[in-house]
């Protein structure tokens, strides 16, 4: 060290930091050092610049900010001495990355250093360039690097080769300049140059098909010969690893040959012999040998077909798979996964071993093996494989259960040969790992059960049995509760007994017991409790003898702290007490949901599948529509026989139920039904709710009282229309008390005035490509405010993206625009966007509404703008 040095030395600083007992102490030391370094920087101290930077690098490694040292790196690089440059470049690579602007400043120094007379300085510059250069630097310095590929010293050539890799990755256009120099590197004898040259060729092939063709034609034979020489070379101490001469070079050669052979029969032919030789000759008792074999198998699998070689390769993998070393087994599984696309039959032969790996103690291997099993399953082997997996589910640890469960569920769903088997397997999964089952999976199970009318009895009994043993699995409880509610009578009367079943005796009392348990269990979540409550309501009409007891249980929930449960129990209690005449119709069995519709919807609406009605904020993309949707849905639960739908959890599920229900009612007289569209069913429902036709509530109650099954859905719809505006959460909130909700079903329809006058919907704007319809409604008691729901329909065959609607009004109006339901408008009227707005007219009665609109969207990324004025509003708004 410099005898004149002042301040602490690097070693002392590290020692001081290491001796710190607490994090606070360490921070203090670092702060002091940083302050000293900053001072030195501002004094432009030259003598200690490199020491300060070294300190900064250490501080950086501890995770402290060191951005103030970046310029120091540049200064050190610009200085003339080797020690300064060496530290400067190290700092540059450590403290900066390619995205920092500062980096551009170093381009010039790099250029000078690439032309330096000292080869070590050239080496430093190449190394820095190879590790952090950006696209601009790559462009600027590529000629220098290209020149250095022919430098006299091999150590510079190899650095330049790797540097070129970085350059062509950053700027693929430059690839063609490097093809010839790279090809000449392949003839080198120096291993370092050869390895890096081969690597450069590999990367060139990846970015440029021209390069690939060139190397395939000119270099394949040479590479095969090099590999042959390598494989037959005598002991070379300098490159020997575990008895093999330079495994790194072997591996790179094999990798390049793979790329050259892929999709080219001639090239593949040319390398067959040497691949066979490598595959048979390399010793597999050390890691280095196995690494080569692994690479060799990969190459054999990728190049054009050669049966004999494939057999050899699969055999090697079989050997790997039974190896005791976990690493080897892992790579074997990894390679089998690639091999399955080439030769599925051969991989199937190792099924038993692979299944064993699923049960391994090593998480990495387990996961790999499970992925592989997942690929292996087909119609013929799904039963035994699923059996194995489900058996293992019991033993697996908690972290793994989630992945495993998801995989089993998908497999069972995808390959199930028959429904009863599907139901059986799902039941096993639910009772073993129900807590890991995703919502859509148990929703699907319910759909399947409800569709299999001959298995209703069987399912409910099996679920009841499973419920007795594994009541702690939340989703199992939910499905069981739903089925007991629906098919409780079949449970008790042993209806539809199958031969394979053991008979059980369940009394009505037992069934209600099960529901009571699930509603009272403290760790049941809200959805389960709500479902149990609905199931109880259903049973109340199925089991008249338990009716009193059910009423008691429901009454207990009146004091629930959860608003949802409290409200439901009050409503249900009301039904039980006051509305005996309609109860049995209300709680009828669910209509069957079409499986195809369900799976279609499920695929379409997966992202919006979460929405709990606990009153927390829902950040769904559809803006205003969704929050209102949940209460609407709840209301529908109550008034229709859709009741057991998991009201508080399943946005998508519910939509499906509604979608099916709605279809017969798409054009009821008097309702202003907007165009129905795919996943927006709920939105449409809502639009009815906010603009109720005058006569709807009366017709609703009429129909309700006369209870006609075929029109039930229409009744729901209309009932809903009048009820929505009363719900506290709905868009047009009104202070009417909760109990009125049910009284609405009573014989005196007096809802008419409360909703205010109704207006026909008007086409506010129409062009050849787009139509905008306004549904107008008034809030009762607030004549100045008009609620407008705009519905946009696409009349062209193109999809509109980034759809944006803007509106402007004169000063006497106030406009409040809610977010739109979506920003993508499907083509040719296959859906719509809805957006609601509120206009307050301060000159109500004197002036009528007027509005300028602007609609912007993109067709195939091209901007389109439409403008217009809406002046055809009804006069008295």
């Amino acid at each position: 060290m410099n005898p004149f040095s002042s301040g602490t030395r690097l070693r002392d600083m590290i020692r001081a930091i290491r001796s710190c007992k607490t994090a606070a102490e360490e921070r203090a030391v670092v702060r002091k050092e940083c302050a000293a370094i900053r001072a030195a920087i501002s004094e432009n101290d030259q003598d200690y610049r490199h020491r300060n930077l070294a300190k900064l690098m250490f501080i950086h490694m501890l995770g402290y900010p060191t951005h103030f040292g970046q310029m120091e790196c540049l200064k050190l690089i610009a200085s003339s001495g080797f020690p300064e440059k060496r530290i400067g470049y190290l700092g540059l690579m450590l403290l900066l990355d390619e995205r920092q602007e500062v980096l551009m400043l170093v381009t010039n120094s790099l250029k000078q250093d690439l032309n330096h007379s000292n080869q070590y300085i050239i080496g430093l510059a190449l190394c820095a360039l190879g590790n952090i250069c950006s696209a601009e630097m790559a462009r600027d310095l590529a000629p220098e690097v290209e020149r250095l590929l022919q430098f006299r010293d091999p150590n510079i050539r190899k650095k330049a080769a790797l540097c070129s890799i970085r350059i062509i990755k950053k700027v693929p256009d430059l690839a063609e300049n490097f093809i010839n120099p790279a090809a000449s590197l392949l003839r080198e004898k120096h291993h370092g140059v050869l390895i890096t040259g081969i690597q450069l060729c590999t990367d060139l092939c990846k970015v440029s098909s021209e390069a690939l063709e060139y190397f395939r034609e000119k270099c394949t034979e040479g590479l095969v010969k090099t590999l042959k020489d390598m494989a037959n070379s005598p002991y070379a101490p300098e490159y020997d690893i575990a008895g093999i001469t330079d495994p790194f070079l072997h591996i790179r050669l094999l990798k390049l040959l793979r790329i050259l052979g892929q999709g080219d029969a001639d090239a593949s032919d040319c390398m067959n012999d040497i691949l066979a030789q490598v595959a048979t000759k390399i010793e597999s008792n050390k890691n280095a040998g196995n690494a080569i074999l692994y690479e060799c198998v990969g190459t054999i699998m990728s190049i054009e077909d050669n049966g004999g070689l494939r057999v050899l390769a699969i055999n090697i993998l079989g050997r790997f798979l039974s190896n005791r070393d976990n690493n080897i087994r892992y790579v074997a599984l990894n390679m089998l996964m690639k091999a399955i696309t080439v030769d599925a039959q051969a991989v199937q032969r190792h099924r038993a071993t692979i299944l064993e790996c699923v049960k391994d103690s090593d998480a990495s291997i387990r996961k790999k093996a499970l992925d592989l099993v997942y690929l292996l399953v087909n119609e013929s082997n799904v039963k035994p494989l699923t059996k194995e997996l489900i058996e293992y589910l019991e033993a697996s640890d908690q972290e793994f259960k989630g992945v495993l469960t998801a995989k089993i569920c998908t497999l069972v769903e995808k390959f199930s040969p028959e429904k009863i088997w599907y139901i059986d397997q799902m039941l096993k999964v639910l009772s073993e790992a129900g807590n890991f089952v995703k919502d859509e999976v148990w929703h699907a199970l319910i759909v399947v059960i409800s569709n299999a009318s001959d298995l209703h009895g069987y399912s409910v009994r099996a679920l009841y049995r499973a419920f007795q043993t594994s009541a702690e699995q939340e989703t199992l409880v939910r499905v069981a509760v739903w089925c007991i509610g629906e098919y409780g009578d079949m449970l008790v009367n042993n209806v539809g007994m199958l031969d394979i079943e053991e008979p059980i005796t369940v009394t009505e009392y037992d069934a209600v017991d099960a529901l009571e348990v699930s509603i009272k269990r403290h760790n049941s979540d809200l959805t389960t409790k709500a479902m149990a409550l609905i199931a109880l309501l259903k049973l109340s009409s199925r089991f008249p003898s338990c009716s009193e007891r059910i009423k008691d249980i429901i009454l207990q929930n009146k004091r629930s702290f959860v608003l949802e449960l409290q409200q439901r129990s009050i409503e249900f209690n009301c039904i039980l007490q006051k509305h005996q005449n309609i109860r049995s119709a209300l709680v009828e069995r669910m209509p069957v949901l079409d499986e195809a519709t369900f799976s279609g919807r499920r695929a379409g609406s997966l992202p919006t599948s979460v929405s709990t009605s606990t009153g927390t904020a829902r950040n769904l993309p559809n803006g205003i529509a969704k929050p209102a949707a949940a209460p609407v849905a709840d209301l529908l639960d109550l008034s229709s026989d859709d009741a057991p739908a998991p009201s508080s959890s399943g946005g998508d599920f519910l939509q499906d139920l509604l979608g099916v229900d709605l279809s017969p009612a798409s054009a009821p007289p008097g309702t202003s039904q907007p165009p129905k569209a795919g996943t927006d069913v709920l939105l449409d429902l809502l639009s009815i709710g906010t603009s109720p036709p005058a006569q709807s509530s009366s017709s609703a109650s009429n129909i309700l009282s006369s209870i006609q099954d075929d029109k039930a859905s229409l009744a729901n719809l209309n009932g809903l229309a009048s009820l929505t505006s009363l719900s506290p959460n709905a868009t047009s909130a009104s202070p009417a008390p909760m109990m009125d909700l049910l009284d609405g079903f009573g014989p005196s329809p007096q809802k008419k005035e409360e909703n205010g006058p109704a207006y026909p919907s008007l086409v506010a704007y129409e062009s050849s490509t787009l139509r905008m319809t306004f549904n107008i409604s008034k809030q009762p008691g607030n004549p100045q405010t008009t609620l407008i729901q705009a519905i946009f329909t696409n009349l062209s065959p193109n999809v509109y993206n980034d759809f944006l609607f803007q509106a402007a009004v004169p000063k006497f109006l106030q406009l409040h625009l809610d977010p739109a339901s979506s920003n993508t408008l499907p083509a040719s009227g296959n859906g719509s966007i809805t957006q609601s707005m509120k206009v307050t007219n301060s000159q109500h009665g004197k002036k009528s509404l007027v509005m300028r609109i602007r609609i912007a969207y993109k067709i195939n990324n091209k901007d389109v703008l439409e403008e217009g004025q809406v002046s055809n509003f009804p006069r008295d708004l």
Binding site: Y120, R166, I241, N290, A291, S364
Partner: protein
């Protein structure tokens, strides 16, 4: 390609990081935290690979240090193990049975060696001897530069001392002829060296 190299101690302290793919400072901290949680908790007899964010991390423990390298899905994991070992052997040869403390106090040396082994996330040199030779050559360049500096300063210091001593003893430049000559020569050398420097 290797995306980054990490050396983490058993306590989760970072001993060396080298990034070949662009990660911002924030991401780097996050990556290190995630990976040390993932790797340090794994048992001793398990395989040396973990899947992480669609990439694969190959790690190997040597005494108290975990050497980790992150690679693409289709890279050869077994080879990376061999590269890690290669690096460790070079370190071992350089420091003479390397230990964690060597890497702490001479972290820059560890980086210099790594830079002779890997560039742009690819292996540069399969020969340990060549790597050692190149690092040694550059170290000696640094040493020469240092010696030059210190020898100059030493000579200046000695010359100054000598002249002062002579003056104190009463030998002025006008005193004994021999001494006079010597001191004049020294002063001359000093000034020239200082100029040069």
């Amino acid at each position: 390609m290797i995306h980054f190299v990490l050396l983490i101690s058993r306590q989760g302290k970072v001993r060396l990081t080298k990034w070949y793919s662009p990660y911002s400072q924030k991401e780097r901290t996050k990556v290190i935290r995630e990976l040390s949680g993932l790797i340090l908790t794994r048992g001793p007899k398990l395989c040396n690979f973990v899947e992480w964010r669609g990439l694969r991390v190959v790690y190997k423990r040597y005494a108290s240090l975990y050497f980790c390298m992150c690679i693409d899905e289709d890279d050869n994991e077994l080879e990376i193990l061999e590269i890690i070992h290669h690096y460790v052997e070079v370190l071992d040869r350089y420091f003479g049975s390397v230990c964690e403390l060597d890497l702490i106090y001479n972290f820059h040396k560890a980086y210099f060696i790594l830079d002779e082994l890997l560039i742009a996330g690819e292996l540069q040199e399969p020969s340990k001897r060549t790597v050692a030779r190149l690092v040694a050559a550059q170290d000696s360049l640094v040493e020469t530069a240092k010696e030059q500096t210190s020898s100059i300063t030493n000579i200046i210091a000695q010359a100054a001392n000598f002249t002062i001593k002579m003056l104190h003893k009463g030998y002025g430049p006008w005193g004994s002829n021999a001494l006079h000559l010597e001191s004049l020569l020294l002063v001359d050398v000093c000034t020239r060296l200082v100029d040069q420097h």
